[in-house]
């Protein structure tokens, strides 16, 4: 063997490799099918259960979303209704103040320059608020501002005693 050339060694080796691939096929000592079938069935069962669990989770998520919508929507609607009612009340009060102011204006006269000046300023402010209300008629804050200004205006023309009595 030692005198053989490298090529001969390789040829010998190739022969051995060919023999290696020609080694007989081996068979398992036991029939493995029963165990494989049992495990495969178990895996299928597990997979089915995990699919059910996944579907159940998805359903639960959808149900909880629906529940949230069902509970939340009426609450939101109810709150909106309350806000609308309040706004209507403020508007109504504002129109009452407008009427009162018109009555006041018909019955009284400006007594001092200072009152005239204050009245003009309040009128300007009311006009500005009215202008904003034209663009945003549902603004509760603007309506409250307008009511406040109207009250100031009416109080300006009422004698101190009347004001005192009104307050009482």
């Amino acid at each position: 063997m030692t005198n053989k050339t490298k090529v001969t060694c390789m040829q010998d080796y190739r022969k051995e490799i060919t023999r290696l691939s020609e080694l007989p096929q081996l068979s398992p000592a036991n029939d493995l099918w029963n165990q494989i079938e049992k495990k495969a069935k178990q895996q299928q069962k597990n997979r089915r259960w995990s699919q059910y669990a996944k579907q159940f989770t998805e359903l639960a998520m959808v149900a909880s979303l629906l529940l949230m919508v069902i509970v939340k929507v009426p609450t939101v609607l109810h709150q909106q209704q309350i806000q609308n009612d309040q706004l209507e009340q403020i508007k109504h009060y504002s129109s009452l103040l407008d009427t009162a102011w018109l009555n006041e204006q018909a019955n009284s006269q400006v007594q001092t320059a200072q009152k005239a000046y204050l009245s003009a300023r309040i009128h300007d402010q009311i006009a500005a608020v009215d202008n904003q209300l034209n663009q945003n008629p549902k603004s509760r804050q603007l309506w409250l501002t307008r009511v406040g200004l109207m009250e100031n205006l009416i109080q300006l023309y009422q004698p101190p005693t009347t004001r005192y009595i009104t307050l009482l």
Partner: protein
């Protein structure tokens, strides 16, 4: 690919397997249990572990069948699963570095007397045995072997070279010993 795995499977069986049909799995078992067991035995050299590998490989193939895209023949696809499973089993036994060590390689004439090729092959270090079988018998490329072992191509080449050298040494010892006994 070794002639053991040179098996054709009809599309119908593959389709049924992909649908989770156990009869198709049984057919695969009948056709492939022996080649798979032979490959596992050549790598692991242990009957029980080889049987486990066959079982696990078939179950893996059953589970992964829906993802089989017919890019390669079914036999090659399944052989890849068996190879990976066998190496996984080998790795569980010990670390790669330990598996690369030769367990008392038969340099002694006592070991070599009467040693045939199969015996000599079994005496190789586990990793060398696997690389030699994958490359020379199964026809895997160095790149494919490197991927299987999660190592570099040079690892595959060096292991193959060592395996061939050791196998030759074992077989030469046998020849020398035989001549000595004849004299």
């Amino acid at each position: 690919m070794s002639h053991f795995f040179n098996i054709c499977i009809d599309d119908k069986t593959i389709h049924q397997l992909q649908k989770g049909d156990l009869l198709a799995l049984e057919r695969i078992y009948i056709l492939f249990s022996r080649p798979a067991y032979t490959l596992a035995m050549r790598i692991l050299n242990n009957r029980e572990m080889a049987e486990d590998v066959v079982q696990e490989s078939l179950l893996k193939a059953f589970n992964a069948a829906p993802s089989y895209r017919k890019e390669a023949p079914f036999a090659a696809w399944f052989r890849q699963i068996v190879s990976r499973q066998a190496l996984l089993c080998l790795r569980k036994q010990s670390r790669w570095t330990d598996l690369e060590l030769i367990p008392e390689i038969g340099v002694t004439t006592e070991h070599a007397i009467g040693m045939d090729l199969e015996h000599a092959y079994q005496l190789l270090a586990p990793v060398q045995r696997a690389v030699l079988w994958f490359y020379d018998v199964e026809g895997y490329s160095h790149q494919e072997i490197a991927n299987l072992f999660d190592k570099t191509i040079s690892f595959s080449k060096s292991q193959l070279s060592r395996a061939r050298k050791d196998l030759r040494t074992l077989l030469n010892d046998k020849e020398v010993s035989y001549q000595e006994t004849q004299q």
